[in-house]
């Protein structure tokens, strides 16, 4: 027994830098949970539990008591309270007990379930110390440096067991928490925490709390080396010097141990201040009832531990991704801007807003947030104190089966995939400096998306099968294309325009329920605005060609569709713009004739289409009338004007002819 004690002491010292003798100073009032009191009320013939007595007796007795206890104690008023709690604890205790091998109650060690750590610790406190609470309470006010880590168990003196059960209810009624002993000498793994008068008599104003500890912790200490308890960060697996954890030496190091960790100077200053002030770092608020001096448990969490938590929180804030804390960033930018303005206006009083500077702590290795074990179902989440957040990879890794499903499903998958790529491109764009390599990378990515869209010529029979057109039939696909257009090279963009115009009837028909084609108008308008005359003619020819399956021209159909008519007007406007401008057009053979023919065709169709079917365009270019004036007689122009007149804009357009 003694040797094991020594082993434990040595271990504790090594781990926590504990002075074994320091534990002698710890005070403890002796708490007991209410469960015990009723139990021990009855077997008064067993006043003392002597160490070494067969624990099975008591165990059996406890189990029996636990069961019958609630009924028996209902009548007694004071005991009703206990019984309810007691029953809870009894259940709790019973489960544990049943889970444990009763034979282990003897001197042979077994592993301690972690949740019993605290209790054992408490028990040991009890065992060691007759109450000298008052002395210890004030100890908290001392410098934290002096406070070592307490915890090496003293199991030589189970004084508590000497207490008679008769005194228990008395104690309880006095509303002081009491803890019973465990049956054999427990050797728990002591956690690095403040000990001592944690269990001192509660001096709270009328705060009743019988101790919460389960009495049923017949845990036997294992040889400490076999235990892997981590009460701080996983310092064993990581370089412990990297991280400043409470489980390192008992001395509070103000000088941060490692060259890798740095505290913000303000933080450092505050730390030293706190040291000097000596632990009474409460905010100023009138709390006469519960001043820190009276609270014996104040300071359970040491400065070191608090700093550790703060440090972990700071590490969590470190991130390369600017979007991780968007609101914080924007808030601070605004604040700084406001202060800069104020500074400009109100003189040179430069108050810097207190800025959060996270300490530089080098993260160990690369952190794999998700560990994929081959053959397992799903993901194993790995989170350390460095990155406790990212437990699961939210990004979908599984490759989408494109072969499966209907056309539409495949189209939808493609859209999603391409959209993600597009978002990446835009992200790149946003963050991009003018570095040429990045530009190239971006164009590469854009090119990739364009290729994936698989835009190619297809006949009208194949329209339903064509991949690009399928993409365009979906709203999101249109959005994708619309967002992609600005990034594309002119030829690519024009190709898209050509394809859309070529298949305009099909697209318009498919868009009937959704009406999302207008999404494309803006970017296409931009494309049109940059087109050459020849290309323009090409596109217009798509609209004026006759269709095999319909008597109507695409042009006519377009007039009845908002997007169609807008696109048409846009094209015409561009043509007019080019013609009326001074720039050389470099037209191909027959371009002008085609242009004139087109204008006449448009005019004819426009006049023939009943006004009721004519749709208002998204935008009515102002130079259309002048275009018509150029080629048509006044009467026709008037007629057309009346037709097109659906917005005040056309009414205001001057009539040059």
């Amino acid at each position: 027994m003694a040797e094991e004690d020594e082993e434990l002491d040595l271990y504790n010292e090594m781990t926590f830098g504990l002075d074994p003798d320091s534990t002698e100073e710890d005070a403890a009032k002796i708490p007991v949970p209410p469960e015990r009191s009723p139990e021990l009320l009855e077997p008064e013939e067993q006043p003392q539990v002597v160490e070494g007595q067969p624990p099975t007796e008591e165990q059996g007795e406890l189990q029996g008591e636990g069961g019958t206890e609630p009924e028996a104690e209902q009548s007694q008023d004071s005991a009703v309270l206990d019984s309810r709690i007691g029953s809870n604890w009894a259940e709790f205790g019973q489960e544990d007990m049943l889970a444990m091998d009763p034979m282990a109650w003897g001197s042979c060690p077994s592993s301690i379930p972690p949740h019993h750590m605290l209790e054992d610790k408490a028990i040991l406190q009890v065992l060691e110390r007759p109450p000298t609470a008052t002395n210890m309470a004030l100890d908290f006010l001392g410098s934290p440096v002096q406070r070592g880590y307490v915890g090496s168990p003293r199991h030589k003196r189970p004084d508590f067991r000497g207490m008679s059960p008769k005194s228990f209810p008395q104690h309880f009624l006095q509303q002081q928490p009491l803890i019973p002993c465990s049956t054999s000498s427990p050797r728990p793994f002591p956690p690095p925490r403040r000990a001592s008068s944690f269990f001192a008599s509660s001096q709270s104003a009328g705060y009743m709390s019988p101790g919460p500890f389960s009495p049923l912790s017949p845990n036997i200490g294992t040889p400490p080396r076999s235990l892997t308890m981590h009460f701080g960060p996983m310092s064993h697996s990581l370089d412990s010097s990297v991280f400043f954890s409470p489980s390192t030496s008992g001395q509070l190091n103000l000088s941060v141990p490692s060259h890798l960790t740095q505290l913000h100077p303000q933080h450092q200053r505050i730390l030293t201040q706190r040291q000097q002030q000596g632990g009474t770092l409460q905010s100023v608020s009138p709390k006469k009832l519960w001043s820190p001096k009276a609270d014996p448990c104040a300071g359970l969490m040491t400065c070191k531990e608090k700093d550790w938590v703060v440090k972990v929180e700071m590490i969590q804030l470190q991130s390369e991704n600017l979007d991780d804390d968007y609101y914080y960033q924007t808030y601070y930018h605004r604040l700084e801007r406001k202060q800069a303005e104020e500074e400009l206006l109100g003189g040179r009083n430069k108050q810097e807003p207190p800025k959060l500077v996270t300490p530089f702590i080098q993260k160990v290795e690369t952190y794999n947030s998700v560990v994929r074990i081959a053959g397992s179902l799903g993901q194993v989440a790995v989170s350390t104190c460095y990155s406790p957040r990212r437990a699961i990879d939210a990004v979908h890794h599984a490759l989408v089966e494109e072969a499966a499903g209907s056309h539409r499903l495949r189209a939808l998958h493609r859209i999603e995939r391409l959209f993600l790529q597009l978002l990446e491109v835009e992200e790149m764009q946003r963050k991009m400096s003018l570095a040429t390599e990045e530009q190239e990378h971006k164009t590469q990515e854009v090119g990739r998306i364009y290729q994936a869209l698989n835009i190619r010529a297809c006949s009208s029979e194949e329209e339903a099968e064509d991949e690009f057109l399928q993409v365009l039939c979906v709203r999101k696909g249109k959005k994708l294309t619309a967002r992609l257009l600005p990034h594309l090279a002119p030829e690519q963009a024009e190709k898209i325009l050509l394809t859309i115009t070529h298949h305009l009837p099909f697209l318009m028909k498919k868009d009937a329920p959704d009406e999302s084609l207008p999404l494309l108008y803006g970017p296409l308008n931009e494309v049109v605005g940059r087109m050459t005359f020849s290309r323009l003619i090409e596109v217009l020819q798509e609209m004026t060609r006759t269709l095999p399956e319909s008597a109507e021209l695409p042009l006519t159909m377009a007039l009845k569709n908002q997007f169609g008519i807008s696109l048409l007007y846009s094209l015409l406007s561009r043509g007019e713009g080019l013609l009326s401008s001074e720039t050389p057009l470099e037209p191909h053979m027959g371009d002008f004739e085609t242009w004139t023919d087109t204008v006449f065709l448009v005019a004819r169709e426009l006049s023939q289409v009943p006004k009721a079917l004519l749709v208002e365009p998204l935008f009515l270019p102002s130079n259309l009338l002048s275009l018509f004036c150029r080629y048509l007689d006044k009467q026709t122009v008037h007629h057309l004007e009346a037709k097109m007149e659906c917005s005040p804009l056309s009414a205001e357009a001057p009539m040059p002819c």
Partner: protein, 133 residues
């Protein structure tokens, strides 16, 4: 003294009396003794307070270690204002009885509701078959 400006930390709340609301609906009142980076809490001299109507009852629970993810919210209790409340404290048995009655009434009304909906062909999925989020 907050040396992490712009952030919220429980560090300042240590050793103060708090009211903690848990996800299962329990209300705990205790002194916050210790925290960690997951906002796991150690509550000392904890009391579970059950509210039914204008009455409440306290069940002393001792020390609680609460896993952070189960906390809905917590707030400091002003010890001076703690006693001016319109609520009436009753004994534990009484409040538990009240709670049981309230729960029963709720269950019955719920049953009637579900029945009425079922008659109209609307099936409301039960909460336990739904994903929590």
């Amino acid at each position: 003294m907050n040396y992490m400006p712009g952030t919220a930390s429980l560090i300042q709340d240590i050793d103060k009396k708090h009211l903690v609301l848990l996800r299962d609906g329990r209300t705990l009142i205790g002194f916050l003794r210790s925290i960690d980076q997951f906002a796991n809490l150690v509550l000392h001299q904890t009391v579970e307070r059950i509210h039914v109507g204008k009455k409440y009852g306290d069940i002393p629970r001792g020390i609680f270690v609460v896993r952070g993810e189960n906390v809905v919210l917590l707030g400091e209790i002003d010890l001076e204002k703690e006693s001016d409340t319109l609520l009436q404290q009753v004994s534990i048995e009484e409040i538990l009885e009240e709670q049981r009655v309230e729960l029963q009434a709720k269950q019955e009304s719920e049953k009637l509701k579900v029945q009425a909906l079922k008659e109209r062909g609307l099936v409301v999925p039960r909460a336990d078959t739904l994903d929590e989020y």
